[in-house]
């Protein structure tokens, strides 16, 4: 065991040692001593790994461990500072992502990279359009886009502009886009971060099909159960260094977590406080978000954690955006028994409700600004003396946020866009908590954040409740809803269709409500479509 | 009573002089309509040559019996005006002669080359045939070229030297800057010719600011009322002005109307002199109510 924890010696051209007992399949892609520095900061050091055909190789690690960076090196999006690659036994130098794609290496980015004004089909075939003579063959592209999406278990019109899609739909479109290219090595960087179990299942089935065809698959996820289920081998990174590579069969999620964070992680979810029975702080009656959600009625009690479950497109995000005045909606909202109207985010903040968006890049953070600016943006009046911003107080707030939320960064003057995904999420949390809200609506609170950070976020949510605040958690990860919430409402096609509580909070029960059919039937129907 | 229509197409008021043109044209239109019942006068302004060609087409569409046109650029507008003529309208060209002179029935103009010549003659005489002067030009279009060429022709043979020349675009602000820089650049300037009173205002201001005494006088042009007033009051910096009155458009309209309604034979050329306005005759050219 201790031998495995130390990184392998850089072996030059020699066959890289991997501590796997069984016979090693012939490597499709190999990395030799890869290092990457941004400026003087080395974020990845001396990584040597081999990826085999017909194998799902998972990479796990904390936020900022360097997973995405490694994947970008393997797919030509970044050039390594040191080290080399070989493909099918031959040394290669990747000259950009296009070159990599030509060699059969495709990357599904962690971040959504689609042109917002183009349609799904147009994005999928961007740069490799199908033509008939000189003209584009849009009919064929649309058809194949539908097929590609269907293979992932989604039905969606291919001629909708991407800017009109939800994050999850964009994620699926992006996966489909990668998979229509001819591929031998497919890298998934957190493909399921915004997917619900049903879509995740469909994706996994698709991955198994590819695996059967001899494709090498690299898979990054913070959902360790998922990793356990799908991966053949698991590599763990920490602080840019290789920690271990083991067969998945020999590694339980707990072990992965321990290797990732370097210590034992006990109890992912905090102890649940007893279900509060006090007066409701938020009552919503017959609320509509035209086009997305209708007839929503529910109440949130003081100190309660209320979950919202549902499939992609169920309308959870839109319901709450409308409630908070961020998009059109109507219906009755009572806060603390008083009927109020919220016209914009500020109204909500003044009433003590904040909403943390699921789209942290598009709606949550100013990627081109530094951390301080982002942190204090929503609560700037608390950092001002008259009109003047108190920079010293801002700096202090940043220091506190970095500690409180365990934001891992190389340097405080970094731009928000340079943080790893999980750390961006923590920054967004910190930003909204500065408003000291009574009611917090968190949309996908742990999207893309590592298990250690998740534990922190859960603790944080529990602590909010303990202080008598109330939290709504919208999540596609049922495990976390079940582990965290007092009560879960389930939405389907824009309506609240079910409520589970206590013992009834099981994945099966939720899926039944969310799909409208029995769990097995739902799985079967996705299977048929795929 | 027969219905007759005169169309008047002139440049938009983009600087002082054209502003004067627009003023005189609109005033004259009212006067003519009062004077001749049944006569309709339509005045249209255009910001540039292409727009003026459009306006001519539109006037033709409306049906006009005579056209009074002060073309932005006569070279450009020759064909469009020819087209109006081919519909049978009486054509009066003002100020800027067309390339094909057979198109016009009546030509009323100030005299651009004459403006340059008169100014040159005055400068030559006043400086005693010797001195360094600077020239501030208008916009790079043919009128400016004619004036400057004639001016240069006029000072030929004397010891008067044009030590610098720049475009001031017939704009006060640009002329101010150019003059400031001239004053920095040249230690001694005897006189300034800037061919336009709008620019002359700015030139005087720049000289005043620099507190320079070497400049003996400034010759502008066009007959702006403030400048004529200065001449009248004997301002030593503005001893003269060279007339190039925007009221020529009114003259043209008047004659055209007389020809059209009164059937007086008016064909031919009417050239208004580029009269030198001096202290003596200034009061004849001072129109208190004109905006220009």
């Amino acid at each position: 065991m201790p031998a495995c924890l130390s990184p392998p010696r850089p072996a030059g051209l020699a066959l890289v040692n991997i501590a796997v007992g069984e016979e090693t399949p012939s490597p499709a892609l190999e990395a030799f001593g890869l290092s990457k520095s941004f400026g003087p900061t080395e974020v990845l050091s001396d990584i040597s790994l081999a990826f085999a055909r017909g194998e799902v190789h998972a990479i796990v690690g904390e936020n900022g461990a360097g997973k995405s960076t490694l994947m970008k090196l393997l797919s030509g999006h970044l050039e390594p500072t040191k080290g080399a690659l070989s493909l099918g036994g031959e040394r290669i130098v990747l000259r950009g992502p296009v070159d990599a794609e030509r060699r059969g290496i495709v990357l599904v980015h962690q971040e959504i990279l689609l042109a917002p004004h183009l349609t799904i089909a147009q994005n999928m075939f961007l740069g490799r359009e199908l033509r008939r003579g000189a003209t584009l063959d849009d009919r064929a592209m649309n058809r194949r886009a539908i097929e590609a999406m269907r293979a992932l278990g989604v039905e969606i019109a291919p001629n909708i502009a991407v800017e009109r899609l939800s994050i999850a739909q964009r994620q699926l479109a992006q996966i489909a886009r990668a998979l229509i290219a001819p591929h031998e090595i497919v890298i998934f960087d957190e493909p399921t971060a915004s997917l619900t179990p049903v879509e995740t299942d469909a994706l996994h089935r698709r991955i198994l099909e590819m695996k059967a065809k001899g494709v090498a698959i690299l898979y990054i996820s913070h959902r360790l159960n998922e990793v356990k289920a799908i991966a053949d081998r698991v590599t763990v990174l920490r602080d840019g260094k290789w920690i271990a590579t083991r067969p998945a069969s020999a590694l339980e999620p707990v072990d992965m977590a321990r290797l990732m964070v370097g210590r034992d992680l006990l109890n992912l979810y905090p102890d649940r406080s007893p279900r509060p029975s006090g007066t409701p702080v938020l009552e919503v009656a017959d609320f509509n978000a035209p086009g997305y959600a209708a007839g929503a009625s529910f109440a949130l009690r003081k100190g309660e954690i209320l979950g919202f479950a549902g499939l992609i497109g169920a309308g959870r995000t839109e319901l709450f955006e409308a409630l908070l005045g961020l998009r059109a909606g109507r219906g009755e909202i009572k806060v603390g028994g008083r009927t109020i109207r919220l016209h914009n985010a500020r109204d909500g903040m003044n009433a003590g409700i904040v909403y943390l968006t699921e789209d942290r890049k598009g709606k949550g953070l100013l990627l081109q600004e530094n951390l301080t600016v982002n942190l204090t943006l929503a609560a700037l009046d608390r950092f001002s003396n008259g009109p003047l911003i108190d920079r010293a107080r801002e700096a202090k707030a940043l220091d506190e946020a970095i500690v409180d939320f365990d934001i891992r960064l190389g340097d405080k003057n970094r731009l928000a866009g340079e943080l790893s995904g999980g750390n961006q999420q923590k920054l967004l949390l910190a930003k909204m908590m500065l408003l000291n809200p009574q009611i917090v609506v968190i949309d996908e609170p742990t999207r893309g954040i590592d298990i250690g950070a998740k534990q922190q976020v859960y603790r944080f949510i529990a602590a909010l409740c303990a202080q008598g605040k109330s939290v709504v958690v919208i999540s596609s990860e049922m495990g976390e809803l079940i582990g965290l919430c007092h009560r879960i409402l389930i939405m389907r096609a824009g309506r609240i269709v079910g409520e589970v509580e206590g013992e009834a909070m099981t994945e099966d029960e939720i899926v039944v409500h969310a799909t409208g059919v029995g769990a097995s039937a739902a799985a079967a129907s996705t299977a048929r479509r795929a | 009573q027969q219905k007759l229509t005169i169309g008047v197409s002139i440049p938009a008021a983009d600087h002082g002089w054209t502003g004067g043109v627009v003023f005189h044209a609109t005033e004259e239109a009212k006067a003519l309509e009062k004077q001749y019942p049944g006569l309709k006068v339509i005045v249209k302004t255009s910001p540039d040559g292409a727009a003026q060609a459009n306006a001519l087409e539109d006037l033709t569409t409306q049906g006009i019996d005579a056209l009074v046109v002060l073309p932005h650029n006569p070279d450009e507008l020759t064909d469009p005006i020819r087209k109006v003529k081919s519909k049978g309208a009486f054509i009066t060209v003002v100020d800027r002669a067309l390339r094909d002179r057979s198109i016009e029935d009546l030509y009323v103009a100030g005299n651009n080359p004459e403006l340059g010549r008169v100014a040159a003659a005055y400068v030559k005489e006043k400086l005693g045939g010797k001195g360094d002067i600077v020239v501030i030009r208008g916009l790079p279009i043919p009128i400016d070229e004619q004036r400057v060429n004639a001016f240069n022709e006029g000072i030929k043979g004397s010891d008067i030297k044009v030590i610098d020349s720049q475009f001031g675009n017939w704009s006060r602000d640009d002329a101010f800057k150019v003059m400031q820089d001239f004053l920095t650049k040249h230690a001694k300037i005897d006189a300034v010719w800037c061919q336009d009173d709008d620019m002359a205002v700015a030139v005087l201001e720049a000289i005043k600011q620099a507190k320079r005494t070497d400049i003996k006088f400034v010759v502008g042009g066009a007959g702006m009322k403030d400048m004529v007033k200065k001449v009248m009051d004997g301002d030593p910096m503005v001893p003269v002005d060279v007339l190039y009155s925007p009221s020529m458009v009114a003259v043209a309209m008047d004659v055209t109307a007389a020809g059209l309604v009164g059937h007086i034979p008016v064909r031919g050329s009417y050239i208004l002199n580029a009269t030198l306005v001096t202290k003596e005759n200034a009061k004849d050219f001072y129109f208190k109510d004109s905006p220009f």
Binding site: P97, A115, P116, A493 | K44, A53, T78
Partner: protein, 332 residues
């Protein structure tokens, strides 16, 4: 899960259509206004005049649609037009070729060549030099304008031979089946533009580059080339406009094409193209150019407004047209 998708799709369709239809609706409203204001407005002569003269701006604006869709901007088109026209006329005056028709044909080819070259210069400076297209084309605007002034030595450049002039005249004044030739030019340029933008891979790439440059780059699109070519297309469109323009006025001066850039951009934006790139509408642009021309025409035909205030009314109408368009597309 099927119902919401369906409903999104149908509402999407109706919305897209309205957005594209809006400029035409505005145009129709203006036509109505014109009819009310002047009985002569709806005459064939007047309408054909308006259509014919919109040819310059419409043609240039088609090029601008490409540049803007790709996230660029070209302020130099007006002075480029003057410059190309100057070169063309000087060539015609050179009289290297006896046959006037052949001479004119070569003159046209030269114009296209010079236009493309000017566009290329703009394009390469912005893309390779990585300078804001606003600044680059503001610079070249000054450069082209100065070059014309210099070529004309402050005066104007005129086609000297009257034989040549009359041989060339029909390109603007002539008609085919009763419709003026410039109308065919507009239709031709727009049709080709629409074909390129909507039906070819290049057009798709133009939109992608304007929508998200980084995504385009990751998709293997040569962003530099795509952007540069939009400027070349713009140059070609300017040249085509010049080819139609020269026979109309037979000359060019340093004031030719002044403010055409603003008109072209306005036509593009009124037509529904996104000023920040990513959405381009060729036919909307044509409608936009017509709207501008019709407004001017109505102003001249009507006697409602004092001469001094025409600019104000035109400005107000443009803003109102956009407002109407917005409210139209917002009601879905």
């Amino acid at each position: 899960m099927n119902e919401p998708i369906q409903s999104v799709r149908s509402s999407l369709w109706s919305r897209v259509d309205l957005g594209a239809v809006a400029p035409f609706a505005a145009l129709a409203a203006l036509l109505l206004l014109g009819t009310l204001v002047s009985p002569r407005f709806m005459s064939v002569d007047n309408l054909s005049n308006v259509l014919t003269r919109s040819a310059f701006i419409a043609t240039i604006a088609v090029g601008a649609t490409f540049v803007i869709t790709a996230g660029g901007l070209d302020l130099s088109v007006g002075s480029m037009a003057a410059f190309v026209a100057g070169i063309m006329i000087l060539f015609l005056n050179g009289g290297l070729i006896e046959n006037p028709v052949l001479l004119i044909a070569f003159g046209m080819i030269l114009a296209l060549f010079v236009g493309a070259l000017c566009g290329l210069a703009n394009g390469l400076t912005t893309t390779l030099g990585r300078i804001e297209p606003f600044i680059v084309t503001l610079g070249t605007m000054g450069i082209f304008r100065s070059l014309v002034t210099w070529l004309a030595q402050g005066g104007s450049i005129v086609i000297k031979s009257s034989e040549l002039r009359s041989a060339y005249r029909p390109v603007y004044f002539g008609d085919v089946f009763g419709a003026p030739i410039p109308i065919f030019v507009i239709l031709g340029v727009a049709a080709i533009g629409a074909f390129i933008l909507y039906r070819t891979a290049y057009g798709r790439h133009v939109t992608a580059v304007g929508s998200n440059e980084e995504v385009a780059r990751y998709s293997g699109i040569n962003v530099t080339r795509v952007r540069t070519i939009t400027f070349v297309l713009q140059g070609l469109c300017v040249a085509i406009a010049v080819i139609v323009y020269v026979p109309r006025l037979g000359s060019t001066t340093s004031t030719t094409g002044l403010l055409w850039e603003l008109q072209a951009i306005t036509a593009v934006v009124i037509g529904g193209t996104r000023l920040r790139g990513g959405v381009g509408r060729i036919w909307g642009t044509i409608a936009g150019a017509l709207i501008l021309e019709v407004i001017g025409n109505i102003m001249v035909l009507s006697d409602l407004v004092s001469e001094y205030l025409i600019g104000a009314v035109q400005g107000a109408i443009i803003v109102i047209a956009m407002l109407a368009q917005r409210s139209l597309s917002r009601t879905r």
